[in-house]
Assembly symmetry: C2
Homo-oligomer: 267 residues x 2
């Protein structure tokens, strides 16, 4: 508690990038009811530093949601070179969680507050018979989706809007629900349809709610006009249901304006 004689090095910020399959976890955030990604990570880190290490993620992901590139940071004495720590963590962690990058960050870095944008992908398998190889990894929709209709629906979301109709936060009326979606697009390869949404931030369940509504349009059960009205209504009741968790991937977190702009300028 007082300045002791130990020669502890000044603390540094470790910045981690993680891929995880969300299926066996109750989401990112540590909680008492079962295993989470944060808990596994903090347990593994505590083995290295021989004391509790608190990790800060770029944000939460729900139960069953995956990450291609979640980011997190923690502050500790830099006892381990990043490459050594990465290998050690990957040895300790369950195989469903992988550290894909580890580096030391500048002193003002914060995984959540330094983020300037995020990108999600939602993976749909649009085929009469579901592949047995992607059971927890894609939302299987046997009925054909109209791709131009999906594209048009996603275009409605681009720009700055009040997305109150697309958050599942029950207290949303008392919060700021305005967000900017820089781009919302689809890519199709075979039966796989990937919806990619890039924005400055996302409300609770926003991507899954946007996808749920978009799919209604793609199935001809909702017109673009109706979707537009739902967006304008700014209330969750009356909006189509959420798409399931297991198709969603946190794809990328942006910390640098020029990286984000390069991404958006690519076709």
């Amino acid at each position: 508690l007082t300045s002791s004689g130990n020669k502890s090095a000044p603390r540094r910020i470790y910045h981690l990038t993680l891929a995880y399959k969300g299926t066996p976890f109750l989401g990112w955030q540590r909680q008492p009811n079962g295993p989470t990604v944060q808990e596994h990570l903090e347990t593994a880190l505590a083995r290295f530093w021989k004391r509790p290490v608190i990790v800060h993620g770029s944000g939460r992901t729900d139960t069953g949601v995956h990450a291609h590139a979640q980011t997190a940071h923690f502050t500790e004495e830099p006892r381990f070179p990043p490459a050594t720590l990465q290998a050690g963590l990957n040895h300790s962690l369950p195989p469903e969680i992988r550290i894909t990058a580890c580096r030391l960050a500048p002193a003002n870095f914060h995984a959540r507050f330094s983020a300037i944008g995020k990108e999600y992908e939602y993976w749909i398998e649009n085929a009469p018979v579901a592949s047995p190889f992607h059971l927890d990894l894609r939302w299987h929709l046997p009925r054909p989706l109209n791709l131009p209709a999906l594209t048009e629906a996603l275009k409605l979301f681009e720009g700055t809007h009040d997305f109150a109709s697309f958050t599942s936060n029950p207290g949303y009326e008392r919060t700021n629900t305005i967000r900017t979606i820089h781009r919302a697009q689809i890519q199709k390869s075979g039966p796989l349809i990937r919806i990619r949404v890039t924005g400055n931030g996302f409300l609770f369940r926003m991507v899954r709610n946007l996808v749920g509504a978009t799919v209604k349009v793609g199935h001809g059960r909702l017109t673009l006009e109706e979707l537009s009205q739902i967006l304008a209504a700014r209330k969750r009741s009356g909006a189509p249901p959420s798409a399931p968790a297991h198709g969603l991937y946190l794809h990328r977190v942006y910390y640098d304006e020029s990286t984000l702009q390069r991404r958006l300028n690519r076709a």
Copy 2:
């Protein structure tokens, strides 16, 4: 037991194509120690015909081995149109087994004896960190593989050879171990290396044994000359170990010479 009054229709042959993820099954063939694909399929079929139905596969697959397109047949009264049966089976079967095609076959069709060729794929993930999304679906090899060396190694197997060095059948010396490999090639896309082997037939564990040896060459631990000697030795002892089951896929079964030739003539 005698010609009864029932007006049972003449039996027909149903020809099924199946995709399955091998992870939860003790292989294809029915056995007392645990669930197999054949057992699940026969159980589902018995519900339709209200009596035991025996299924014949194109061949066995080992525990953990996957199939993109296993084939099987059974002989029964054609009470159900193929499309109805396919939908009903997919409703009954676990999601790791999918019927991808169902048709009525000519009277002389046999899933095993009518086959004129087979194709396997072996999937390798060659990247420093394994993806958490393909844990039971690819063999993870962190050390870089030399692709030209892999290609050269596979070329050695093309043609008609005695593959005794590459079967795990303990009684192989008393059997015919000569097979023809029409083609053995690799395809790379990102970290995924797919080895595809097409032949007139395969010995027990042959593809996994060929891949185990090929990877040694790709890692520079075995020369082409040594591999050639192993093939010529015609004995299993001294050959490199088998590649693991979870990277292997039964990719296709050929019943028609012109279909096979078209495949082989494609680049």
